[in-house]
C-alpha cells in the first residue's frame, strides 16, 4: 500500500482525497488544511488523521507521496519541503508562480529520483489523447497552426471571496484556465520560442485577469493562438477546445469528441478514412476504478500511483514537462506588459527590443489612470 497525504481540502483536494481513498493500492494516512472546520468535520465523520500543519504531517504520517492542492502561491514551499524529505509529489497546476522555483524543484526531484506530477488532467482525456496519437502518427502532416480555447462561468460578477480572485495568491484566469490549454499546446506542438500579442484583461475582477489572448511562436513558422475567458456564462462548465491545422488535415477536439478531417494526401491511420472522422468519448475512454467527476481525474491519479509503485521518475506531466507550461506563462506575463507592438498614431511599437523595454499599452493604461492589466510576478 502507498501511504498518501493530501494538503489543501478545497474543491480539488477533496476530490483527490475521495478518489485516493477509494483506490485499492492507497492508504490516505493524513490530510492537512488551514481550516479547522473542514478538518474537524472530516476527522469526526471519516476518521482520517488530520493535521493543521504540513510539516507535522510529514513527520508523523510516514508518507510515501503527497497531493498538494493549496493556493498556487504556496506550491513552491510545500513541494520543496516534501521533496527534501524524500516524498513523491503530485501538485495541482500551475507548479509554481516563478519559473526559477519550478526549475529548482524539477531538478531537485530528479536528483533524488522522486516521482512528480502536475494536475494537467486534460492529458488523460480520451479525445485529447486521440489528438496526440493522430499527430504522432503524422495524420495531418506538418502542423502549421493551433488554436487553444477555454471558456467557462467562474467569475460572473465583480466580487470574489477566495484566493482565486487574488493576484498575490496566484489567482486569475491565466493560472486557473489558460494553464490547461497552454499545457495541451506544449504537448501537441512543443515549447514556444516566443510569445506575442498577449493581452490579460479584466472583465469583472478587480485584481486579476478574466480574459486572455496570446500568440505562441514555434520553430518552423508554426504558431498557436490562446483564447481563454472564465467570465463566459454561455458555457455551463469549463469547456476546452483544441483545433490544429496541418498540411494534410485538421483536428478538433473537446472533452467529448475528436473530429479529424483528413485529406486524400494524408497518411490515414487504421480505422480512419479520408474526409471527416469523429470519435466520441464513449469510444475513447478507458474504464477507471472509481468515477467522481470525469475519468481523466481518476486516470491521472492512477498514472501517478503506478509510477510511484514502479519508482518511475519520467512520466506524463512530470515536473520537467510541466515546467514548459510555467515558462510559457512567464513569457506571456512579460509580453502582456509590453502592450501593442504597433500603435495607430504611428508611434513605434512597444515591443521590447534587444533588452530595451518600452511601456506600450501599460503606459497608456497608466496615463488613463488605470492599473497595468498584466500581473506582477513578485
Amino acid at each position: 500500500m502507498i501511504r498518501v497525504g493530501v494538503v489543501g481540502l478545497g474543491k480539488m483536494g477533496l476530490s483527490h482525497h475521495a478518489m485516493l481513498n477509494a483506490h485499492p493500492d492507497v492508504d490516505v494516512v493524513g490530510v492537512c488544511d488551514s481550516s479547522g472546520y473542514i478538518l474537524g468535520i472530516l476527522q469526526k465523520y471519516t476518521g482520517v488523521p488530520t493535521y493543521p500543519d504540513f510539516v507535522a504531517m510529514l513527520e508523523a504520517a510516514e508518507l510515501d507521496a503527497v497531493f498538494i492542492a493549496t493556493p498556487s502561491r504556496s506550491h513552491a514551499a510545500l513541494v520543496g519541503t516534501a521533496l527534501e524529505r524524500g516524498v513523491h509529489v503530485f501538485c495541482e497546476k500551475p507548479l509554481t508562480l516563478d519559473v526559477r522555483d519550478t526549475e529548482r524543484l524539477s531538478s531537485l526531484a530528479r536528483d533524488w529520483g522522486l516521482v512528480t506530477q502536475v494536475g494537467y488532467h486534460n492529458r488523460f482525456v480520451g479525445a485529447f489523447r486521440e489528438v496526440k496519437a493522430l499527430l504522432d502518427a503524422g495524420a495531418i502532416g506538418n502542423v502549421t497552426r493551433a488554436l487553444a480555447e477555454a471558456y467557462g462561468p467562474v467569475v460572473l460578477r465583480p466580487k470574489g471571496a477566495t484566493w482565486r480572485s487574488q493576484r498575490n495568491e496566484g489567482g486569475g484566469c491565466l493560472y486557473d484556465y489558460a494553464a490547461h490549454v497552454i499545457n495541451l499546446v506544449n504537448w501537441y506542438v512543443g515549447e514556444p520560442t516566443g510569445v506575442g500579442g498577449t493581452v490579460l484583461s479584466r472583465v469583472f475582477s478587480r485584481e486579476i485577469d478574466d480574459e486572455i489572448s496570446s500568440t505562441l511562436y514555434f520553430p518552423g513558422e508554426r504558431t498557436a493562438q490562446i483564447s481563454v475567458n472564465w467570465s463566459d456564462e454561455s458555457c455551463r462548465k469549463m469547456t476546452t477546445r483544441i483545433t490544429i491545422w496541418g498540411t494534410t488535415g485538421r483536428l478538433y477536439a473537446d472533452r467529448q469528441e475528436c473530429q479529424a478531417y483528413l485529406r486524400d494526401t494524408a497518411r490515414i491511420p487504421i480505422g480512419y478514412e479520408p474526409g471527416w472522422n469523429v470519435r466520441y468519448t464513449t469510444d475513447l475512454t478507458a474504464p477507471v476504478w472509481f468515477y467522481l467527476r470525469g475519468e481523466e481525474y481518476s486516470a491521472q491519479i492512477e498514472s501517478f500511483i503506478q509510477r510511484v509503485n514502479e519508482q518511475r521518475v519520467d512520466g506524463v506531466n512530470d515536473f520537467t514537462s510541466a515546467a514548459a507550461t510555467d515558462r510559457a506563462i512567464a513569457l506571456m506575463i512579460a509580453d502582456a506588459r509590453t502592450g501593442a507592438s504597433m500603435l495607430a498614431d504611428g508611434v513605434t511599437g512597444a515591443k521590447p527590443t534587444r533588452g530595451r523595454r518600452v511601456g506600450g499599452l501599460a503606459w497608456l493604461h497608466r496615463r488613463r489612470g488605470r492599473p497595468d492589466p498584466a500581473y506582477s510576478e513578485g
Binding site: 477533496l14 472530516l42 482520517v48 455551463r236 467529448q256 467522481l292
Partner: protein, 304 residues
Amino acid sequence: MMDRLLFGDNQFFGVNHMSEEKARSQLLRFQRIEAVIDMLDAAYDEGVRTFMCTTHDRIALVCDHVRSHPDRYADFTFYPGMPYAHKYANAVTEGGMLGAVRRFLPDEGVMDAAIRGGTSFAKRDIEGVTTLLVDAEMKMFAGLRAPVIFLQNLVVDLLLGLGFKDAFRIFAEHVMDRYGAEPGFITMNLPALLDVLEDLGIDNPIVCTNMNKIGFRMCGGVDAYEAALRDRRFRAVAMSVFASGAIQPREAIEWVCSQPNIESIVFGASSVANIRSTRELVSEYWTDVTQTARPLRSDDRLPV
C-alpha cells in the same frame, strides 16, 4: 412501485456526454420553458408521468406550471435529484466551501436557519446543515408529488470516496421524516455504494446508475453490475442506457431489459417521436410498461 419509465432532464440543460455541439443545440431548443413543458406534456400523454429532474433553477418554473394546472397533471410525479451540481461547483470556486454552503441556505425563516446553521457549524455537525440544504432544494416542490428524492452522483460519489457514510443516513432519514419520501442515490460506482448502504442498514435502497451494454461509466465493470443486479437487494433505476447514443436504441433496450431486477429506466428525449419509440421499444421487452393512471391520493403531495 416506481413507474417503469422515468423521464429525465439532461436534454433540457445541455448535458450531453457525447457532443458539445448537440448539447448546445438542445439548449437552444429548450431555451424557453414552454418548450420544456411541451416535451413534458408529450411524455405525460405517452404515459411517462414521472419526471426525474435536478434542482436547477429552471425546474422551479416547471413546478409552478404543474402546480397551477392540477387537473391537467393529476398524476404528474417528480423525482427531484439534488443538488444541481454546477450551481454548487461554481459557487465553491467563487466563494469557497463554506461560502457556497452559506449561499444556498434558505433565506426564509432566517432566524431558524441561522440558529440551526450557526450552531451546526460551531459543533462541526454536518447533520443540521445537510438538512437545511435539502430543505432549500426542496422548496420548489411544495404542493407537488415527490415520493422519491435522489442525491446526485457528484455528491454521492464524493461522500462515498471520502468514506463519509453518515451523510447517506442523514439524507435518508431526513427525506423520509420530513417529506415522507423514499431516498434514492445516483452513483457511477454501484458495487462500492451498495456495500456502504448495506453497512448502514439502508435496506433495499433505490439506486440509479449507468446500465448500458458497453459498460460506459460503470465503475467496477459490466460483470460486477450484472452480478449486483442478480445477487444484491436494491431497487435499480437504469440511466445512460443508450450511452449517449453510442449504442443503437434496439440493441441498448434489448440488453437493459434482459437484465434481472431493474425496476425503472430513466431516459431523455427531445422529440415526441423519440419518447414514443422508446416507450414502444421498451414495451416489446417489458410487458408491464404501459402505465395506468394511479388514483390521486390527497396525502401524497407535499404541503405547500
